[in-house]
Amino acid sequence: MLSRRELLSRCGMGFGSLALGNLLSEPLAASPLTSAGFARSPELSNPLLARTPHSAPRAKHVIHLFMNGGPSHLDTFDPKPALKRYAGQPLPGETPPTERPTGALFDSPFKFRKYGQSGIEVSELFPHVARSIDDIAVIRSMHADVPNHEPSLLLMNCGDARQIRPSLGSWLVYGLGTENQNLPAFVSMCPNGYPIQETQNWQAGFLPGIFEGAYLDTQHEEIEKLIENIRNPRTSMRRQRAQLDLVGKFNRLHSGSGRDEALDSRIQSFELAFRMQTEAAEAFDVSREPQHIRDLYGPGVQARQILIARRLVERGVRFVQVWHGAGQPWDNHDDIGVLHRKLAQECDQAIGALLVDLKQRGLLDETLIVWGGEFGRTPTVELPKKGLNDGKINGRDHNHYGFTTWLAGGGVRGGYVHGATDDFGFRAVENRVHVHDLHATILHLMGFDHERFTYRHAGRDFRLTDVHGRVVRELVA
């Protein structure tokens, strides 16, 4: 006997109306996606084949620029003139508890000015990004749950602060597959090592492992170090071709006249892998870009990985996450004036270039860019603490009550500011957007109803947004 779900799928109920059903959960044998490219074979099929979502998507790809550590919204995209006026004075009313004690209000060391037709203010840290401000929706009213890195990173990536849940990228690849079978579907790049929470940030959770992000350490330039087993150091491609032809012969002799989709699919997967060896090497090789494009992105590892991100989405990769660096680089509890400047200098030109470059290629419309950290920073100065920021009173603590994330491309309303924090930038007060709302909105842009996009696990239908989330319609163009 079949389950109701299996049964409906057999009667021509496809993908949209069943919210993907049990695409790959137990029992795997009953994959309902026969209409969307999944073989009916009881065994195996390639779960990365491209599929269509619930409704017409606005965006097909995502580049998530993760400023891990928590960039200060007050020094980048959320100007607060009151900070200058009241600098050195205590925050009126009670100071909300954050990770560490903070003191008086602390003015931004950076100047803001208006950009574009929209006249949105951006600080001097991001002049290149600011040039594309009319393509950007700045959400100044983000809020999360707690002022600590670990839970906030998991919340931002997986929609839950503690438990084992799939990441946004994994959800999207589960739902959409990917357009280029010769490249990983979901790539997470971070130079020199992992961010904190490590691989959990791009975990597949309870989804099949194939939907997990492929981590690349972008301090390396050689393809062998970026993708495991992409090259064979002991056999030439020509001989590999001969080997695969021989394998094909053996397979045909083995299966005789009978056809079986699992056997056939496996043969296809070898052909894909063979092509991947050259295609992937090509995709990650930024030296193939003309000089003027490399100049546009500028020097350094940020420029290289952001340019790689463009090359990947251009080739159909579904989700690319670009982390600023190992650990928590934007976590400037002190010396924020110096350190934030340095960090922004490392990535501003490349992010600005990415926006311009995607637009000139006509790719910005179908690529959603997400910029932000796991939270923002306090308008009050962090008090010095032995062993941490000893003797320094020039940084900001974590702030989950209010911070900024911006979106661009992919159906997003450009030149638009959504919501606001209070006069000092501590709390989101107007049109508040929780991380769950951001996720609901991203899924909406990708063509999914976040309430219907589910996966059956442990007896229950799980969602990225759990029981929360609201699509922020104003952000959609």
């Binding site: 079949l2 790959l24 137990e26 056997l263 496996r266």
Partner: protein, 887 residues
Amino acid sequence: MRRGIANVCLPLGILSALLGASAYCGSEVKQSEAVDFFERRVRPLLVEHCYECHRGVSAKGSLHLDSLAGLARGGVGGPALNVEERHASRLLSALRYESLEMPPRGKLPPEAIEVVANWANMLDADLISSWSEEPAALSETNSQQPNSPGGHWSLIPPEQPPPPEVKQLAWCRGDIDRFVLHKLESAGLTPAADAAPRDLVRRVTYDAIGLPPPAAQVAAFLADPSDQAYERIVDTLLASPQFGERWARLWLDLARYADTKGYVFQEHRSYKHAWKYRDWVVEAFNRDLPYDKFVVAQLAGEQTPDPPSVAPAAGFLTLGRRFLNNPHDIIDDRIDVITRGLLGMTVACARCHDHKYDPIPTADYYALYGIFASSEEQPHAELPPQLVDRPAPVEPVVFLRGNPGAPGPQVPRRFLTCVAKPAAPAFSHGSGRLELAQAIVDPKNPLTARVWVNRLWERLLGRGIVATTSDFGVRGAPPTHPELLDFLATRFIEQGWSTKKLLREILLSTSYRQATTPASATAQLAGNFDADNTLLWHAHRKRLDLEQFRDSLLAAAGTLDLTLGGAPVALTEASPASRRALYGLIDRQNLPAFFRTFDFANPNTHSAVRARTLSPHQALYLLNSPLVLDAACGLAARSVPPGAPSADPTAESPARIHRLFEFAFGRPPTTEEADAALQFVNAPSESAESVIPARSPWNYGWMRTDPVTERLEFINFPHFNGEQWRPGSEFPHPEFAFAQWTKQGGHPGRPSHPLALRFVSARSGLANISITLRHPHDQGDGVRLRVIAPTGQVLSEVSAHHGEELATAQLEGLIAGKPLDFIVDCRDADAYDTFELFVEVAICDALGKTVMHRSPDDFHGPEAPPLDRWQQLAQSLLMSNEFIFLE
């Protein structure tokens, strides 16, 4: 199955047509949308506001709001839903306080009422009547009172059914077969023939011990494929120590076993002694520890008669993720592992609210929570962390919506109320952990034996009788063969909870022995309505899982190390262990891509079945990974026939091919296969064959001059000591004296033995060469360097003595695979001739892309040599479908 759906879809009213229907069914869309919307939006409201009174046997006004059937039928006051005048329906008017005022405690917010109204708008009379006629099956189980034993099939204790009557009694080797055949005959299907002996022996060996059968064993079975011979094979396999290694892995998946804690902030990452739990599980399977004792040992081993002997078993509970030491999450993880793993119940769903579908109230969750909150962990120097009862047990309270900051009513520590007797007393012995364990393995518990035998069946037959092996609840899949499941479960208990006896009975059944190819008439018929083969009209073709696959590679290469037990080893390092994959280190936080690529069970959470994905990354692994390449070399080496090498190596080729097939597939090649293989190894080599882009272009050796022809010949130095390449291990060398290459330069040999650095590019193009040659000593006569093009032409020559010399050269058409040689000689004497050399070759290809190679940056030790034809052939066998699929 819903009758409403069936009626629409079933022109013939039989299962076959239902399953075969591919036409678009309009009513069904409505049906599914309405049901979906109900479950997603409406039911949560009803749960929160109405269930208190309108649920279960004592529902007020006989109005049951806990099922679609109940809603459709209405209560004593009349129908709740009215399609003709939707807005006048009793349900809506009561919610709006227009007639009755419901809920009496206060009117719902308008949005909530709107949700119900929207849902009511989706309904039509057909839908409602289809629900109201619905038999008890699906919806009624929802209406069970949480505290009364459920009517759901899995909660009714199994009774041993008599094996049914069948027509083809001769087909049946045992009772199991009568259950399977009865279903097939009822559907008008014929089972498949027995699998070919070769396929069968391979299948049963992999299933029982996770390894391929040795060729000799296959041959023996082919010579005598009798039932008695098969039975002997099964008994030998079940008695082998590898049996426990195979079946322990199933358990470790359920137990989310790992050797590390997951993300931690500062503490140690590893569970140093986790492997002792793993070894305990292996050993328990090998000595067939009765399943009830096996379970009790893992839940409350310290309270059993012989605690030290079962102490490692505590790892079942204590080796989970640490969740940054959040106690609520740690306990939640333990509740989940126990309830899904042992009972097939998704109790963790009830952490925040009553289970939406199964009769598991939140109070049950916190009853279990209390047991673990009353237990504490003790570190142990040589074992996994141990669990012991706290001196004073915790009296648990419900956390409202799962929030520990919102304590609700107190609950007793006790077992699930849907299984325990209604008036079962609360646990009173310490934490209650032992009582919990005993309640789980109570022979009257309707779930435990069913869940375990179903897992065993799933492993062997490729699909569970209940397909959702860890969810026996209302939303889980119903059993395909309910009587068989009950037969197996009761028999299992009857036979003393012996896993081996049950496995033996299944392995000996005709059902298990079927071929993967169905009877041809059946294939046509059944393909229409049971494409997924749930009725078992043939065997499911299975693919080797990660452990079987990796072990098989090593077995084919003849390098598999069958040592039992011990600390974990790295499976994916530069020189990976040749132990069985079971012994691989499982690092939760940094699980190597190899594990994910081959569908390893997520070690963070209980895992019911492995995913079965197929991706090009798996193919890349087979094409390029060091493990596969080494296995191919091992397999090729084994294929050389024993005895003195033949004078004509080609005469040996057929015998070698024969041996390759035997080692890889356990069978000789067919004529066609042997011909194809022979053609492959004999095909003439191609000129560009030697170019392998991933290899270093630099080769370290010397340049021999043929005394007769005076031709130069490059010879690699055979010895690398970690820093220097030399002509041999002896230094100074009797023939070469001080000759060596280092990262920075080297020392030339005697005048007749010049050093040579050979550069072989993977790319063609324009080569720009820059050289810096430095001779630091002021004594001796210095050194000379010549750059020789592939044509033999000298491109550049430079000498250095007590100083540094620069040189450049250009070669326009460097061809991939052709060598550029840098020859360094000692001039007239080789004393004081240590030199430093920096060579940069920049190759600009036709696309204008430049690739740089710098000699010191690229300096490297020995690289594994390219695969020869035999090794390539061996790898082709390892990549073929036959190697990885089980017929």
